[in-house]
Symmetry: C3
């Protein structure tokens, strides 16, 4: 009977839709209840600020659990000094990196200051532009902290 089979198809479609609609809200919620993600900006050549940034990262991991967080420290402009191999906080950088904190140096700043990867602490990665990394992460829903 084509009418009945149409009805079944219509009902199936309706049920499928209920499922899809129901999923719509959790999809948004899931995004928000996922890992606490934060991008920490360092744009000053001030070791007190560097230590504050590293303390922030550490506190976030201790209080929320490493496995529940994504943390990036992005250094640009005068802040690039934080990530040099001879930085005052070099030992703390190694520790942060070992704990899963991403350490990112701004490629534009490095070009301006004629720095190469050899000038940086070993665990640091270079991104094209620090400011764009920070903007991109905010667009993806990451929180922003400038210590």
């Amino acid at each position: 009977m084509p009418i009945v089979s149409s009805l079944i198809r219509a009902s199936t479609a309706a049920l499928l839709l209920i499922g899809m609609t129901a999923l719509a809200t959790p999809a948004v919620a899931a995004e928000r209840t996922a890992k606490s993600s934060v991008v920490i900006q360092v744009s000053e050549s001030n070791p007190a600020i560097w230590n504050l940034a590293l303390n922030n990262a550490k506190n976030i991991q201790q209080d929320l659990g490493k496995e529940n967080t994504n943390i990036e420290i992005v250094a640009y402009g005068p802040g690039i000094n934080m990530l040099k191999f001879d930085s005052e906080v070099a030992p703390r950088l190694k520790e942060a990196s070992a704990n899963g904190v991403a350490l990112l140096a701004c490629g534009n700043t490095m070009k301006n200051q004629k720095l190469t990867e050899k000038d940086l602490e070993g665990d640091v990665k270079v991104v094209k532009a620090g400011v764009i990394e920070i903007i991109s992460k905010q667009r993806e829903g990451w929180a922003y902290i400038k210590p």
Copy 2:
């Protein structure tokens, strides 16, 4: 007639779905058109910055109306000095609090500096970690200001 009643059920389901789908967008919109909410970070021991933070809170309330705003000032690291009972801006803290601005001190910073609630201005509340308070609010859609 079962076919007709099935049809009615299918149509009702379809209408319900139209309603549910239509509601999905307003739910997101409602969240965005609700109160203007902002978390203000103070992480420096600099009274000029403290006054700027308090001016920011005051301007937001004056221009948008207290009833349309949620404002938190979160102090951590060297910024904790702003919220001490003998802070230069203590009288302004009382005024801000009376106007509904939440004043929050970082519990981690207090532990590190061996401070207790008695060291703080009376209206200040303590949160476990200032930085996590700031991140959480941003995740809930609050704006972030670092004066």
Copy 3:
């Protein structure tokens, strides 16, 4: 045949719903994949910070393409000095403005400092309150940078 036409109507409604539901996710995604928009806060009277803010704007435009970005520099408090006609960075302001970067001065700060538009560099616009401009943009999904 009313039963068949009802069925067709139900199926059409169902198909419409599939379309509407399918559109729900792209709508959110579209918002996120639109122009990279960023509000840059300047609240310090420090030419090094002003140059960093202007470098940030320039790098964003160079790396992402002017046509793919919205950039505002909002100055308030002591940061207002950046936007005065006799500012150290006045030539760079003209260049930024010519490149489509909006330069916005806080009206509240101007009132407090008894400044008028004549005191500002020619391309600067005045907003009622700098901090509210910054909050509003964040609510609209713009990223926030404090250099």
